[in-house]
Symmetry: C2
Subunit: 345 residues, 2 copies
DNA sequence: AAGCAATGCACAAACGTTTGTGCAGAATAT
DNA sequence: ATATTCTGCACAAACGTTTGTGCATTGCTT
C-alpha cells in the first residue's frame, strides 16, 4: 500500500469547509477582518477549519500575485570553503529575520556555471542577489544590476559599474602584513598571489610594491608567483620561488590554502618555518591556533563581510533606493602567531 | 535620476511583439512547435522577440501551473560548520544537475527555529527535504513525511517513523576507534560525548561498552561526560574527567570540537598529548594534517553523507516511490595520526 | 466542384493566492 | 413607510505560465 501523497490543502478547500467564499477566507486569515467587515463567526470558522485541515498558504501563489518572491539568491564558488560558508550563513541568518528565504547556488569555481546560476535565480524571481564571483567576468552581474535587481558582490569590485561591493581592507591588510615582515628584518620577500586581475589581488600587490618602496626597497616581479587561492597554487609557486630565489627569507601568502601549500613545499625543501622561512598569510582559519605552525595572519572578518552584504541589500529592499555608498570596506585584523622570525643576518 | 526598476518581461509581451497569441508563444519557445503545428515563421518570430526583449519565463508562474516547484529544502544547524557546509554543498551540486534549486535554512542549533523553517519551506512547496536535525524532536519531520514530502534526515534516525536516514557507521567507527586505544594498552578511557539521546551517540556508547566488555574491561558511567559537540563541552568535560579521574590515560572525543576542547584542557592541566594523554576523535577536519597535535581520527565521509542523501531523495523524486531502504550507513575510515601513544605502564 | 484532411493558430481554463467592487439584507434614520 | 447607512459577504480579475479544444483557412482528393 503506497501512501497517497496528498496535495497540499488549498484556501479553496478551507473556504468550502467553513462555508464562505475564498476571498472571505483569505481576509479572515490575513487579519483584514475589520477593514473588510468579516463577522467574528466567519473568522472563527475559517481559522478553525484552516487549523483542522492543516492549511499552509502557497507562497508560490502568493508570490505570483504579490510580485514579491521573498527570495534572495546567494552564489558562491564553493560552499564547503569556510570563507564562503560563513558568508552564506550570515546572509541566510539575516534573510531569515526578514522572513525571506535564501536560494543557495554553488558555482563550482566556474564562471560559466556562475552565469547559468544567476540566470536561474533571476528566473525564480529572486528579489536580491549576493554574489561572490569566481573571476573577473561581470557581464551577467551587470545584466542583473541593469534589470534593477539589488545586487551586492563580495570580495570583488567592478569599478565601471554601479554595483555595490563589500571588500576587506586589502590595502591596510597588505600594508600591515608586509610591515610585520619588514619589522623582522626581511627584505627578500616572495608573494603567493590569488587570482590575478581581481581587484583585491591588485590592491594587495600595489600596496606591497608601494610599501616596499617607502622602505627603500623594491619588489621584483620575479618574486611574485601563483594564479589561484588553492593549496596547489601555493605549493607549486613556493617550490618555484624558493628554488629560483633561495635568498627569499619570507613569504606573503594571499590565502590560507596558499600558505598551507607553502608549508608543505617548505618542508620538502628542508626549510623549517619560521626559522628558515617566515610566512604571513591573508585569511584565517578557525583552527589556526591549533596549527603545528600557528600562522601569523591578516585576518578577514568574514562574518562581517557577509553580514554587511546582507544588511546593505536588505536596506535597499526596504527603502527601494540604491545605496549611495558603492564600496564597503571591512577592517582586517593582524593576528601575530608564530610563523614569523627575525631574519638571520 | 533613479533607474526605473523594470518589471521582468512576460510571455504576454513577447507574444504581442511577435504578433501571436500567448499560447502560441509558449509552445514556440517550449519546442512543442511540431506537435502543435506552429509555423516556422511564427516560431522564429517568437524566438527572436523573446531574445530581443530578454524574456525569462517566470519559474514562479511555471511552478504554480505545473505543481512542481523545482525546489529542495536543506535545513542544517549551522552552515558555517564544515560538516554541514559539506553536506549543503553536496546536496546543492546534486540538485543543480537536475535543474532543481536549493533553499538553504540555518536552524541556529535551535529546535524551535528548525520547526519554523521546515514550515516555511513547506509553504514554499519544496519537493523534497534534507534535514540535519538539531536534537531529538521529530514531530515536525513526521508531519512533513506524512504529507508525502520526500524526506531524508542525516546523522539522525527516528526508528518508529518511516523516514529515510543517512548515517555514518557509528558502530564500526566506535569499535575501531576504541580498539586503537586498547591496542596501545589503554584501559582507563574517558568519553566526551555529543548530544545524549541521539541515535549516533547511543550507538557509539553502547558499542564502546560492548567492546570494553569483550576486552574484559568495564566502562564506568563516571568516565562519560559532555552534552554537546562543541569545543566548550569538550573543554569542561575534560577538566572534570581528568581531575576526578586522574588515572584516565586516553580520551575518546565524539567530535572534533570536543577534541579541541580536550586539547586545551589537557594543556592547562599540564598533560601533554599524546605522551601524557592519548586522544582519538570522531569527525575530521580538512586541516587535521597541519595540526600541532595531528589527531587520530575516525573520519566520517561527509561528502558521501550529503551525496547519498541527495541521491536517495532525487531517486525518490524520479520514481515517485518511497525507497524500501530506510537506513543508509556510510563507512568511516580510521586515520591514525599522532595523538595516541602507548600507555606507560 | 464538393468533401475532407491537414495546417495554423486563438480562446479559455487552470494553478492558488490577493484585492477591488458590487450587492443583497439588516439596521438606523427621517 | 421610505430613504439611508452599515454590515457581511460573494464575484471576478489579476499575477504569468501551460495546455486542451475549437475554428477558420488552405490544400488535396475524387
Amino acid at each position: 500500500m503506497t501512501l497517497t501523497s496528498h496535495q497540499p490543502v488549498t484556501l479553496h478547500q478551507v473556504a468550502e469547509a467553513a462555508g464562505v467564499s475564498v476571498s472571505t477566507a483569505s481576509r479572515a486569515l490575513n487579519g483584514r477582518a475589520k477593514t473588510y467587515r468579516i463577522s467574528e463567526r466567519a473568522v472563527e470558522n475559517v481559522q478553525r477549519e484552516a487549523q483542522r485541515l492543516g492549511f499552509r498558504p502557497s507562497l508560490l501563489a502568493r508570490s505570483l500575485q504579490s510580485q514579491r518572491s521573498g527570495l534572495m539568491g546567494v552564489v558562491v564558488p564553493d560552499v564547503s570553503n569556510p570563507f564562503f560558508a560563513a558568508i552564506a550563513r550570515e546572509v541566510t541568518l539575516q534573510a531569515e529575520t526578514q522572513g525571506m528565504s535564501v536560494l543557495l547556488a554553488d558555482s563550482r569555481e566556474t564562471t560559466s556555471v556562475e552565469t547559468k546560476l544567476v540566470d536561474e535565480l533571476r528566473a525564480r524571481r529572486v528579489e536580491a542577489l549576493v554574489v561572490c564571483p569566481v573571476g573577473t567576468e561581470s557581464q551577467h552581474l551587470m545584466d542583473a544590476d541593469d534589470a534593477g535587481i539589488p545586487l551586492v558582490v563580495i570580495d570583488r569590485c567592478f569599478p565601471e559599474t554601479s554595483m555595490t561591493s563589500v571588500l576587506s581592507d586589502n590595502v591596510g591588510g597588505a600594508r600591515r602584513g608586509l610591515q610585520q615582515l619588514l619589522n623582522h628584518g626581511h627584505t627578500e620577500i616572495g608573494c603567493l598571489q590569488g587570482l590575478p586581475g581581481t581587484l583585491p589581488n591588485q590592491q594587495r600587490l600595489t600596496t606591497i610594491r608601494q610599501t616596499m618602496e617607502e622602505a627603500g626597497l623594491t619588489f621584483a616581479d620575479s618574486l611574485l608567483a601563483g594564479d589561484n587561492f588553492t593549496e596547489q597554487s601555493g605549493y607549486e609557486s613556493t617550490l618555484q620561488l624558493l628554488t629560483s630565489h633561495p635568498e627569499i627569507s619570507a613569504l606573503f601568502a594571499f590565502s590560507t590554502p596558499n600558505a598551507f601549500g607553502a608549508l608543505r613545499a617548505a618542508e620538502e625543501l628542508g626549510r623549517s618555518v619560521p626559522d628558515d622561512l617566515s610566512v604571513v598569510t591573508f585569511d584565517d582559519s578557525p583552527f589556526a591556533d591549533f596549527m603545528r605552525v600557528p600562522l601569523s595572519t591578516v585576518s578577514q572578518d568574514v562574518e562581517r563581510l557577509g553580514r554587511t552584504a546582507a544588511e546593505v541589500i536588505l536596506k535597499q529592499l526596504r527603502t527601494g533606493k540604491k545605496p549611495r555608498k558603492r564600496t564597503h570596506t571591512i577592517p582586517v585584523k593582524l593576528i601575530p602567531r608564530h610563523s614569523i622570525a627575525k631574519v638571520q643576518s
